[in-house]
């Protein structure tokens, strides 16, 4: 187990390095002058050549690329995520202020996806081709096609029309005011949770159908174990392993999906910060946020892999 964890962590470090290079390349090499982003194309044209060089040097953009990259990595290792061009708040502070809300949305949505997806999958796997199974299949196909942010806009509008209700837009403080926080995260979490539940239900259904046909399940039934216990104690634990892996991959769907969904609900999480950075073309904030999201995604998937290896000895000895 220890060897497996060590190897997985080693690969993870390599992946984080690769990811940082990709982010750096996208933000620095692709055509598009960062100064245009800061000053606008009109402001650009009014610059003299010396002013331009001074600006670039000031921002550290005149150094050779490898120096820029090493500088960036050094800053990040020191916990300095830079500063927005347009706001006084440092990016690190912004992440600390906005991050928790997005983390709560993500956690609640994963919880919801399991609470909804798994029972639904059990029902439809035990009675394949029944009406319930058909309904489940239709809904899972439907939720794969509906954009989450649009569903979010509809929910906001619907609640407003029906009850004149609008979720609070500020004041998230889980410990101080759990009720306000819950109202802010519930909408985005439901939308993102249902989207994931569609994938989870699909995967759990086919995985259960496969496991139910295995010999040990038949043996349990033959011994006279009741049907519920067979599903709960014998079939489910094995059937859920691939679902856990999928859930880890879907975290990418949650992290990315929360950007437009938070915008639809007006929830002030990290996704909104990303939206702001994109619409202001704030290159450095964007660079750090994209890197942060990718690292979180990679780390969570390492955690999932280790969890799976811990649950399933076949993997850690393979």
């Amino acid at each position: 187990m220890l060897r497996y964890v060590a190897r997985r962590l080693g690969l993870g470090v390599l992946t984080v390095f690769g990811v940082s290079v990709v982010v750096f390349l996208i933000m620095r090499i692709l055509p598009g002058d960062p100064l245009v982003a800061v000053l606008g194309s009109d402001g650009m044209q009014r610059l003299t050549e010396e002013q331009r060089t001074a600006y670039l040097t000031d921002l550290g953009l005149n150094a050779p690329l490898y120096q820029q990259y090493l500088g960036w990595m050094g800053d990040i290792l020191r916990g300095d995520f830079g500063r927005s061009f347009f706001r006084s708040e440092s990016v690190a502070d912004m992440i600390l202020r906005r991050g928790p809300l997005t983390a709560q949305i993500a956690a609640l949505s994963v919880l919801l996806s399991w609470v909804v997806g798994i029972p639904v999958a059990i029902v439809s796997a035990l009675r394949p081709n029944s009406v319930a199974d058909g309904a489940v299949r239709f809904l899972s196909i439907f939720f794969l096609a509906v954009p989450g942010f649009w569903l979010g806009m509809l929910i906001v509008l619907g609640l407003l029309f029906a009850f004149g209700y609008r979720a609070p837009l500020t004041g998230a403080d889980l410990l101080g005011d759990p009720w306000t926080t819950l109202q802010m995260i519930l909408g985005p979490a439901i939308v993102l949770g249902l989207g994931q539940a569609a994938y989870i239900a699909r995967m759990a259904r086919s995985s259960l159908l496969e496991v139910i046909r295995e010999d040990y399940v038949r043996t349990a039934r033959a011994k006279g174990v009741n049907a519920r216990a067979v599903i709960r104690l014998h079939a489910l634990p094995n059937a859920l392993l691939p679902v856990i892996t999928l859930s880890g991959i879907l975290l990418g769907f949650v992290l990315a999906g929360s950007i437009p969904v938070e915008r639809a609900f007006g929830a002030p999480g990290l996704g909104q910060a990303m939206f702001q950075a994109v619409s202001e073309r704030d290159v450095f904030v964007m660079q750090n946020l994209v890197f942060l999201y990718a690292v979180v995604f990679v780390v969570l998937n390492i955690v999932v892999d280790i969890l799976i290896a811990w649950l399933d000895p076949r993997i850690r000895y393979a």
Partner: protein
């Protein structure tokens, strides 16, 4: 009777065995419809959407860009079935024209991304070795980003524009093409017919493109249709976040973004119709894709 004329007999047999191209297509469609009627229905819907997109300038009742300040923010009525937006543009016409942009971007991005990925996967699977190892790492790095975030970063770095959006979405599709085609090639290249061709002295290029590539056509088509829906949703999300096709050109995503600027409470008709358009289109392409997958490769049922 035809024994007297062997040449014409041969031609007659050939004609019997090999019906004309339209007839074969029709036959294939008929089998498709019998095998998966649901997919066939949604295939017809998808065809209608494509038709609407192609004929957009002809069937749209009004110009999608012309503001009409006497008709601002009107709910659906007889003159404007889907209502008008905050500067009086006809929403129905904008939704129709939006379909053109959405489909064009999605199809171009999926074709570009899947093709680049497929060629890369072909080379990886065929050559193997260090090149393959290196490529797999790069693909892994690319897949460490959630799709939408990678697309956002690229679209932002390149600046707004149709080609930017296509490129941004295409890059997120490359790893899928690469992985799937690579695994197909790994199994195909060990087959006897490839060995035979190699024994006859065929070059690498000839082996790759003449002998192995044709075996990749079915998985390629399956992959491309399966990813159309995802591409449409990413395009809409980019539009919604303001890094898609820049306004005033209507896309479903930037129409939804616009509706948020229409006031404190967005009018319901500005929210409802573009979203319904996205949902129906993605639903149609996804279900059509499922049917095509079942038809081309029954073993893949339930995967991809």
């Amino acid at each position: 009777m035809s024994a007297t004329d062997p040449a014409s007999a041969e031609a007659a047999v050939a004609a019997q065995q090999r019906p004309s191209a339209p007839a074969r297509t029709l036959d294939w469609l008929r089998r498709f419809a019998r095998r998966s009627p649901v997919s066939a229905f949604w295939g017809v819907v998808a065809a209608l959407i494509v038709l609407i997109a192609v004929l957009a300038p002809v069937i749209a009742p009004a110009d999608p860009l012309t503001a009409n300040f006497r008709m601002m923010s009107k709910p659906p009525n007889e003159a404007a079935w889907f209502g008008t937006d905050q500067v009086g543009r006809d929403v129905l016409s904008r939704v129709i024209h939006g379909s053109q942009t959405s489909l064009m971007v999605a199809v171009a991005a999926v074709l570009l991304g899947t093709t680049v990925g497929a060629v890369w996967g072909l080379a990886c699977g065929y050559f193997g070795g260090r090149f393959d190892l290196f490529s797999q790492r790069i693909i892994e790095f690319m897949q460490s980003f959630p799709d939408l975030i990678l697309a956002m970063a690229i679209a932002m770095a390149l600046g707004a524009g149709t080609w930017t959006v296509i490129l941004a979405i295409a890059i997120t599709r490359i790893p899928f093409g690469g992985r799937v085609i690579r695994s197909v090639v790994l199994s195909v290249k060990e087959m006897p017919f490839v060995e035979a061709a190699r024994g006859l002295g065929a070059s690498h290029m000839r082996l790759m493109f003449r002998h192995i590539l044709p075996q990749c056509v079915a998985p390629y088509l399956i992959l491309a249709t399966a990813h159309l829906g995802v591409a449409i949703i990413i395009e809409a999300s980019l539009g919604f976040l303001g890094v898609g096709i820049p306004p005033p050109n209507p896309t479903w995503g930037n129409m939804l973004a616009d509706s948020l600027n229409a006031g404190l409470v967005p009018p319901w008709w500005l929210v409802l119709f573009p979203g319904v358009a996205i949902t129906i289109t993605v639903l149609a392409f996804n279900l059509l894709g499922d049917g095509i997958r079942d038809m081309l490769d029954p073993r893949l049922r339930g995967s991809v």
